[in-house]
């Protein structure tokens, strides 16, 4: 390829720079066919009766009527609402005191505390869910002792209380990290000003601090709501007969292969999500206070003894409870004999040795699928981020929206969309590795988009202009200037995507086939078969690998682990 604009006798030579157009068209094609098309087809399908061809004549609200008339659907709808709202409220209430304590009360090791708070976010909630079964299930280790020592009849872990417990403890760090970040970034002058004017501490908290971080609280809470609404793994394991929308979708697909019905449920699920986002933007309207300063001065730290004791007890206590499932998974993976006692009676590596022959295939599968998806994510995520940051064009909001769409859609909805689209018709991918790779790509491209957008925003546009002035084509500039400069962002985003894909559950459960069974499916199967110790061994491997990768990624980008999830 010729980049040069050599002069031929003083004359400039025109040469068509095709690469940006090619990349642009390819990106649009990929986004359209693997993101917009499946999702819109799934939307259309929900308006057609099962078994009938997609046609305007067949337009019907049958699936929705069916939905709202069927008792079981109505129940699932109510259940989803109850669970998501409870989780949102509990997680927010749990997180707020901790967020305040970490940012305003003098505490040692607060960075370690924040880094450890990331663990519940990166390890799949369903791994934590079954450890609650180990602990509080019908024959759980704690159940027995609590009942015999305290004489309390604890409610069954199966059902709403178990789901709410597991999800609240998995998702409260979202609120914690976002609100803590916002509290730490608040201009200390504002609060000091209130103190100078004679306000007492409680009054400042109520009239200044709290209103200032209100948008962050709302943002964190809405994220928890979306995540809780879309979660499949936890209600699948702890739900029992208590169905929520995602498990209902799975039931429709695996029980009856009623894709149209599943699409309709998915639509309802999505509408709830969109409603939540709409409420958030309404609440936050005119509330975005610009209080973030570039200064390094931290806000006044409360040093009182009582406050410090409270802060340490509360924060570490909460973290300990939230990490209990992970500790149990880790401990039980080494337990060789464990029946009817508080602690295992024999430790060893037997579980690991036992699963070794069975873990290899799913482990390799997960690595292959996650790697492929990560590469595609990196390429297109970077291209879209570049376009979005650097170019001004009509309909840019549509591009940003398209990219972020799968971010708010429950994974199982993406799964349904892929099933309905690639099960028949032009491209048939059902049962192949490609369908998983593409679905993973669609699920995670927003991660790359976000980190790379931020990184490109940091690079002065003048550098690219200077490169073009020197005679570089678009491709040369990308290769030699832009990509090298944003590479930390790209690598960090890539690792984050890879790490969270190793144990992806929500789309995998709908799209995997016998040949392409992944780690998460293997763990799920162990849990279903009640082979909990084997599940723990495999779960420990998954969590450890994920944690290690996220740690690595945070080192590369030079950010703390907590910052990466804000």
């Amino acid at each position: 390829m010729a980049y040069a604009n050599k002069e031929h006798g003083g004359k400039l030579v025109r040469k068509f720079d095709w690469l940006p157009y090619f990349s642009g068209i390819l990106t649009i094609f990929v986004l359209f066919s693997f993101l917009l098309y499946p999702i819109s087809k799934s939307v259309i399908l929900s308006f057609v009766k099962s078994g009938e061809p997609m046609d305007l004549a067949n337009f019907t609200l049958f699936n929705f009527e069916n939905f709202f008339q069927s008792i079981s659907y109505q129940k699932a709808f109510i259940h989803s609402l109850v669970v998501s709202l409870s989780v949102t409220i509990i997680a927010t209430l749990l997180a707020l005191p901790a967020a305040f304590a970490i940012s305003r009360i003098s505490m040692p090791f607060r960075n370690i505390l924040l880094a450890l708070s990331v663990i519940p976010l990166i390890s799949p909630p369903f791994i934590g869910a079954y450890s609650w079964v180990i602990l509080l299930g019908k024959s759980g280790i704690a159940t027995h002792y609590i009942q015999s020592w305290l004489g309390i009849e604890i409610p069954s872990i199966y059902g709403p209380s178990g789901i709410i417990l597991a999800l609240s403890l998995s998702y409260y760090p979202y609120v914690l990290l976002i609100v803590q970040g916002s509290l730490a970034a608040t201009d200390p002058n504002i609060e000091e000003c209130a103190f100078v004017m004679g306000s007492k501490r409680w009054r400042v908290l109520r009239t200044i601090t709290f209103p200032l971080v209100m948008p962050s609280i709302a943002a964190g809470a809405i994220l928890v709501f979306i995540k809780a609404l879309g979660n499949f793994g936890v209600p699948a394991i702890l739900g029992g007969e208590y169905y929520v929308l995602p498990t209902m979708i799975y039931f429709q697909v695996h029980g009856y292969f009623n894709l149209n019905g599943a699409s309709a449920i998915a639509m309802v699920n999505v509408l709830l999500t969109l409603l939540a986002i709409l409420i958030l933007t309404r609440l936050n309207k005119g509330r975005s206070h610009v209080t973030v300063t570039g200064g390094t001065r931290r806000s006044v730290q409360i040093k009182g003894r009582g406050a410090r004791i409270f802060a340490n007890t509360y924060c570490w206590g909460l973290l300990l409870i939230a990490l209990t499932p992970h500790l149990i998974v880790f401990c039980s993976s080494f337990a060789e004999r464990w029946a009817g006692t508080l602690f295992p009676t024999k430790y060893g590596l037997a579980n690991y040795f036992r699963i070794l022959p069975e873990v290899q295939t799913p482990f390799t599968n997960s690595i292959i699928l996650a790697s492929l998806a990560t590469v595609i994510c990196v390429v297109f995520g970077t291209l879209v981020a570049y376009t979005s940051v650097r170019r001004r064009f009509f309909g840019k909001w549509a591009l940003d929206l398209t990219i972020m769409l799968p971010f708010v859609l429950p994974g199982i909805v993406t799964g349904v969309a892929y099933l309905t689209t690639f099960n028949s018709g032009l491209i048939v991918l059902t049962g192949t590795s490609a369908i998983l790779v593409l679905a993973y790509f669609v699920r995670r491209i927003a991660y790359i988009f976000r980190t790379v957008s931020a990184a490109i925003g940091q690079v002065d546009n003048k550098l690219e202009e200077a490169s073009a002035i020197c005679g570089a084509t678009w491709g040369w500039t990308m290769r030699k200037i832009t990509v090298p400069l944003v590479s930390p962002g790209i690598i960090a985003g890539g690792i984050l995507v890879f790490a969270t894909l190793i144990s992806e559950m929500s789309v995998t459960i709908l799209l995997y086939s016998a040949r392409w069974k992944t780690m998460s499916i293997a763990i799920y199967e162990y849990v279903i078969a009640d082979e909990l110790l084997d599940a723990s061994a495999m779960g420990s491997i998954a969590i450890a690998a994920t944690l290690l990768l996220v740690f690595l990624s945070s080192k590369i980008i030079g950010k703390s682990m907590a910052e990466m999830f804000r």
Binding site: L12, D460, K462, E465, A468, A472
Partner: protein, 370 residues
């Protein structure tokens, strides 16, 4: 010495924002030849930067043509135009060292490695930067970064050099030093250069010719001396250097001169006449036919009331190389500045002073129909 020739015809740029269309550049015509050092001067937002960015191809052209040696520049992308450009922020590639930054454009042109080394070494020598070839840009001072940016823009023998406020980020002393350096190299290499600045002193110091911009329009083009001594509008006389304005009536015309009367009745015969454009004519106070413009250093100041205008000295400002007297005159609408190379004895703050106008130094800006 080159025979390059840049022609700008009816060049316009309209930015479409959400609320309105903003005309940033309005029908500009220019010709720049050979190794000329040409400066675009004007207040911020006047369209000078937009114009240079259109020449570079970094901004699309709404209307008009840019012809370089007869070829339509607008048909070429930036990377095909073979130009050099120095940015205000220097825009050095932070991950490449000085040598690699300078060699960047040569690598793109697929020039032999040995040849690249030769040319980079030569240009770095020319800018006294040879010792720093292996440094990374963040380890360089502002002035050094500036030199690297210039070297990078010149090394591949571009058809023209564009400089967009290149000295704005340097401190005052270095700024004077660097502008001399840029001038020296430009003349040494004989390369057509277009320089954008809002600093009129800088523009006067380096340019062969300069163009004054205001609100997207090209107001006046000429050598620094022409623009300073023969401004063609009130804007240019106010923007380039200081100016005192006195409203005046036309008494009569005799031969080549015009006899005018100032507000206090003092009469002058002026030969430098400029008819005002309609817009500027509106700014002339009603009841008057025009304004007389005099540069502060062209006034005389004395204690005896023999001058054209009398007033009270409000403040005396000692500025080192000259002294500025600010005089309140009941007969002038504005405070009158008088600059003198040395303090004038007998003039004190609060005391009386008489301002003299030397007729050949004054210009009359008059309404068209007078």
């Amino acid at each position: 010495m080159t025979s390059n020739y840049l022609e700008i015809r009816n060049l316009s740029k309209v930015f479409n924002t959400e609320h309105e269309n903003v005309t940033a550049v309005d029908s500009i015509n220019l010709e720049i030849k050979g190794d000329e050092f040409f400066t675009m001067l004007g207040p911020s937002g006047c369209g000078k930067t937009t114009t240079i960015r259109m020449i570079a191809g970094l901004e699309s052209v709404t209307l008009g043509n840019i012809l370089f040696n007869g070829q339509d520049f607008t048909k070429f992308s930036t990377f095909q135009r073979n130009i050099g450009m120095v940015f205000q922020s220097y825009a050095l590639f932070p991950h490449l060292n000085v040598f690699e930054n300078v060699a960047y454009g040569l690598h793109i042109r697929k020039i032999l490695k040995t040849k690249i080394r030769e040319r980079v070494t030569h240009i770095l020598d020319l800018l006294n930067m040879s010792e720093l070839a292996s440094r990374l840009p963040p380890d360089l001072s502002g002035g050094q970064q500036q030199r690297v940016a210039i070297a990078r823009a010149l090394v591949y023998d571009p058809g023209m050099l564009l400089l967009d406020e290149p000295l704005a980020n340097l401190d005052a002393k270095l700024r004077v030093q660097m502008r001399e350096e840029i001038h020296r190299i430009q003349k040494e290499l004989g390369i057509m250069s277009i320089y954008v600045t809002h600093d009129q002193e800088e523009a006067m110091a380096v340019s062969d010719r300069l163009a004054v911009f205001n609100m997207g329009k090209l107001i006046q083009v000429g050598t620094p001396h022409e623009v300073y001594t023969r401004p063609e509008s009130l804007f240019v006389s106010g923007f380039i250097g200081q100016a005192n304005f006195f409203p005046a009536h036309i008494v009569n015309r005799n031969g080549s001169g015009v006899r005018v009367a100032l507000t206090n009745g003092c009469e002058l015969v002026l030969t430098s006449l400029v008819a005002l454009e309609d817009k500027e004519a509106e700014s002339v106070e009603s009841g008057f036919d025009g304004v007389v413009m005099v540069r502060p250093e062209r006034h005389t100041l004395g204690t005896s009331a023999i001058g054209s205008l009398n007033g009270t000295v409000r403040r005396i400002m000692f500025l080192g190389n000259y002294t500025r007297y600010m005089v309140n005159c009941p007969d002038s609408r504005h405070e009158v500045f008088v600059d003198s190379p040395r303090p004038i004895s007998g003039i004190e703050e609060g005391g009386k002073a008489s301002i003299g106008i030397y007729e050949p130094d004054a210009i009359l800006f008059h309404k068209k129909n007078c």
